[in-house]
């Protein structure tokens, strides 16, 4: 399943990656599963997506909870808690 993933702010800097196109295994259909998948890359990804890390997620530009599902073609995003305003 193909999705695009974006990274913002401190997370983007930590990973040295602003975004990427991913072709995921069929089993990975929720934010929680995707985070575990990215964690397996090790290095900065392992730290950034650690269980305890405060990472927020959006699916198609709407903030979602960790157990939210996504489908092929979706735009996913990970970022730290927001600090605007």
């Amino acid at each position: 399943m193909k999705v695009s993933v974006l990274y913002f702010a401190s997370l983007r800097e930590q990973l040295g990656n602003a975004g990427e196109e991913l072709d995921l295994p069929q089993t990975i259909t929720t934010i929680t599963a995707l985070k575990a998948h990215l964690r397996e890359r090790g290095g900065a990804y392992e730290t950034a997506f650690a269980e305890k890390a405060l990472v927020r997620a959006a699916v198609n530009q709407e903030m979602v909870k960790a157990d939210a599902a996504f489908k092929a073609g979706d735009e996913l995003a990970f970022f730290p808690p927001v600090t605007g305003g």
Binding site: F8, A9, E62, P80, G84, G85
Partner: protein, 145 residues
């Protein structure tokens, strides 16, 4: 209803005037957030910010009697004293205007995808989210609010 995410500065007085024209509007509550003593860069998630702000404004409109409303949030590099964000809400009465304006700010603080990076002499660092902002947003979930 106007939502804008922009690099440019804004004019609070002009924005408030622009939503005050209805003869049934008796009250406009507004808010301006200002950069304190440090240069900062505001990053945002372009595709999502507009959506998130519209959603917050709609939620405010469903809870209070709002005649009109403007939300402007800037991004890019901002100097100390610069305006960051403004919210203005026009209503028939002040109670609705104040509540909706504060609600929009509280939700924006926890729901709109903006991130501040501060540039201090000792280096740049990302501002951490404050627990008090989560609490401010939470209190609108109490019944009766």
């Amino acid at each position: 209803m106007k939502v804008s995410v922009q690099r440019e500065d804004f004019d609070l007085g002009a924005e408030v005037k622009a939503i005050s024209g209805d003869t049934s509007t008796g009250a406009v509550a507004s808010f301006v957030g200002i950069v304190r003593d440090v240069v900062m860069t505001l990053e945002h998630y372009p595709g999502m910010t507009d959506k998130a702000l519209h959603k917050i404004v709609e939620e405010a409109g469903s809870r209070w009697k709002v005649k009109d409303c403007t939300v402007i949030h800037r991004y890019g590099e901002l100097q100390p004293g610069a305006q960051i964000v403004m919210v203005a809400v026009a209503s028939a009465h002040r109670g609705d205007a104040f509540a909706a304006c504060e609600f929009i700010m509280d939700y924006l603080k926890t729901q709109a995808p903006f991130w501040k990076k501060e540039h201090r002499p000792e280096g740049a660092n990302w501002v951490e989210a404050r627990a008090s902002d989560d609490q401010a947003a939470e209190r609108w979930k109490e019944p009766g609010k």
